[in-house]
């Protein structure tokens, strides 16, 4: 089993549009199926990952999806409310202060406050317990894309560096402890066999490590396995359009091989997920990718 599957907090990130939600959904589904009680956390994404699983989109309230799988969409305003109520305990005070429109607009100016409360909520779920054991065996986070992910995951460190001792600094400290503990938290970077996603994945991997987070796997989405040999192309010499079709398949397989090699420089397992030839993603697609992902990560073995 690779490192990622041993973690309790599994953070999935990558460039926009590479399939983070699909990979998060597939990973959460397989973890739940392997018998681990799993929470799929979206970060203010409107429930995209749960919808891919064929369930109603996740909302801000915890929802049971199936078997051992639950979901929640962590949203800034609800997370803020929960956080504040934990601190001040009075609903009336919360309403008087935080539902004041002037205060609401003011709160937007405080850097990192939304990220802090959203990350805090995710890590709070991680710490939830029931009869002396953790409530969740695995929390899968469909994290924001590259730049936002680094900002998001870097919030505790930034707060620790810049804040004087106080409430927010204390919050930052316990959040930071869990995030940088390689026994607790692991990250997976999702990529595509294309120039920009590869470059961004390499930068993202370095960025996560700079934040002292464990990078455990790279998931290469939409991979193409080699199909045509030189002899096949030669056999198509008289048919230029079919030859072009074959040549473009060869080019895609080459790009996949090149991507695996370049992403390999991050020195973690690179799991290639086959490209699916369908319009858009659905439950069946997520299940197929989930099986490939899980076996690529050495799960169930």
């Amino acid at each position: 089993m690779t490192q990622l599957l041993r973690k309790r907090l599994l953070v999935v990130t990558g460039k926009g549009g590479v399939g983070k939600s699909t990979v998060s959904a597939a990973l959460a589904l397989e973890l739940a199926r392997s018998g681990r009680r799993t929470l799929l956390c979206e970060v203010n994404a409107g429930g995209r990952a749960t919808a891919l699983l064929g369930h109603p989109p996740a909302g801000p309230a915890l929802a049971h999806l199936e078997g051992e799988l639950w979901s929640v969409d962590v949203r800034p305003s609800e997370a803020m409310r929960e956080y504040v109520l934990q601190k001040i305990r009075f609903e009336r005070v919360y309403r008087a202060v935080f539902e004041n429109p002037l205060v609401r607009s003011f709160l937007r100016f405080i850097p990192s406050l939304p990220e802090t409360v959203m990350l805090g909520k995710i890590l709070w779920h991680l710490r939830q317990s029931e009869e002396d054991r953790p409530l969740w065996d695995a929390v899968v986070v469909d994290a924001p894309s590259t730049g936002h992910a680094l900002t998001f995951l870097g919030v505790p460190e930034v707060l620790l560096r810049t804040l004087p001792p106080g409430t927010m600094a204390e919050e930052a400290e316990w959040m930071h402890r869990d995030l940088v503990d390689p026994a607790v938290t692991g990250t997976a970077v999702v990529s595509l066999p294309e120039e920009l996603p590869i470059l961004e994945s390499l930068e993202l991997g370095a960025g996560l490590r700079a934040l002292h987070l464990a990078l455990d796997a790279v998931v290469l989405n939409q991979a193409t396995a080699p199909r045509f040999q030189a002899a096949d192309l030669a056999a198509l010499a008289g048919l230029p359009r079919l030859r072009a079709l074959a040549a473009s398949h060869v080019a895609e397989a080459d790009r996949t091989r090149d991507a695996v090699e370049r992403l390999g420089s991050l020195e973690v397992p690179v799991v290639a997920l086959p490209r699916l030839y369908q319009g858009g993603m659905d439950r069946a697609g997520v299940e197929a990718l989930g099986r490939a992902l899980f076996s690529g990560l050495g799960g169930g073995a």
């Binding site: 601190k87 001040i88 405080i110 850097p111 600094a169 072009a244 993603m281």
Partner: protein, 380 residues
């Protein structure tokens, strides 16, 4: 005249918007090249282009400096321009610093640049990237009368983040809300009484428990530092808004063929229209081409093993083409009467000038109807 040709010939500003990962930057560059091909002096302002695209455009670094696309690269790619085309990469941080420098007094500027809340304004505040891109657009447009400026925009998850950017940033600067209950704190800070006033009301007391007293104090200092900037900012922001709504500007909404993001694009389109902004077209990029029936028949006559391999490849390509054609047609219905144009997925990525030129030419030539697949692309 096709909608894109009309836009490139008559508009001063074309803003390419849409979700991330659909090729906005590439199409922005492709359009500026076509602008040059139609005889307009053109500039493409890109945001974070792929390295190979940047080098094809002759850009090696950020820095808000427009550079002509090298004649040698144009010649090598066989691209003939009638008017010169320039490219630049937007440097967000530098643009913000320049904007502050242009609106603040020197002493005020130094205090602002040094405050840690300024960092959050220029980087973390939602909409600040979009805002500065639009602000730069206004500057470029006003300094280049008669030219075509094509603006690439940051990938925006939510349409409203983009459209609200100027008002959100203005709201930040106006800070009436903050002043209202920070006023005692500001006075306290000025007379060295360390926020005594703030402790006196429920709002201040509660907030300081949540975010910490020091944070409130730093924020007060920042609000003091930026007070007085509002007017300059407001004027510029309203110029930006006026430019976007004017006849000279049109938007191009760039989308991919995948159905997952269609809703998002449709909402973006509705939001643009609701604000009275002109949308020249929705461009569906990277559409898979169908395989001609004739080629399918030919494949059936091939010997094994190549026959099986090519038939499988045809089957996969056809499934993608069919799904894309369906997606394009659904998009057409959802954004009607805005025209929907398609750009085929080129074998290989569009990085060199020749490929950029071809992609742009597809757009200028106009749309194949949604129900007819785009012509098969050539090899790169």
């Amino acid at each position: 005249m096709t909608p894109i040709e009309a836009a490139l010939r008559t508009r001063g500003v074309v803003v390419c918007v849409g979700p991330g990962g659909v090729g906005k930057t590439t199409l922005s560059a492709a359009l500026a090249l076509q602008g040059g091909g139609l005889g307009r002096r053109s500039l493409v302002c890109t945001i974070d282009p792929a390295r190979r695209l940047a080098s094809a455009l002759g850009l090696s670094e950020l820095g808000n400096v427009a550079r002509p696309i090298p004649q040698a690269s144009l010649g090598a790619a066989g691209v003939q321009l009638i008017a010169p085309v320039e490219a630049m990469m937007l440097d967000m941080k530098q643009s913000w610093d320049e904007l502050i420098a242009a609106t603040a007094t020197p002493e005020q500027r130094d205090r602002i640049l040094a405050n840690r809340f300024y960092q959050s304004l220029s980087t973390a505040l939602a909409g600040s990237q979009e805002y500065i891109a639009l602000e730069k657009l206004w500057e470029l447009h006003s300094t280049r009368p008669g030219d075509l400026v094509v603006l690439d925009t940051p990938p925006t998850a939510h349409a409203l983040d983009f459209l609200d950017a100027p008002s959100r940033v203005l709201e930040f600067l106006e800070t009436d809300a903050a002043r209202w209950f920070l006023a005692p704190a500001l006075r306290g800070a000025q007379v060295g009484l360390k926020l005594v006033g703030l402790g006196g009301n429920l709002v201040g007391r509660t907030l300081s428990r949540i975010v910490g007293m020091q944070t409130l104090a730093d924020l007060s200092a920042f609000l003091l530092a930026i007070s007085g900037l509002n007017e300059g900012f407001r004027q510029r922001a309203s110029s930006v808004r006026a430019l976007l709504a004017s006849e000279t500007t049109t938007f191009l909404l760039v989308a991919g063929p995948a159905p997952e993001r269609r809703e998002e694009v449709v909402r973006f389109h509705a939001a643009l229209r609701a604000q009275g902004l002109d949308v020249a077209a929705v461009v569906v990029n990277q559409v898979h081409a169908a395989v001609a029936a004739e080629d399918v028949a030919r494949a059936g006559e091939l010997p094994q093993p190549v026959r099986g391999k090519i038939e499988q490849t045809i089957e996969e390509a056809s499934a993608l083409a069919e799904a894309d054609a369906h997606g394009v047609s659904a998009m057409g219905q959802a954004v009607s009467p805005t025209p929907v144009l398609t750009v085929p997925r080129f074998a290989g990525e569009v990085h060199d000038l020749g490929a950029l030129w071809r992609a742009g030419a597809y757009l200028v030539a106009g749309a194949p109807r949604p129900d007819s697949p785009p012509p098969a692309p050539g090899e790169p």
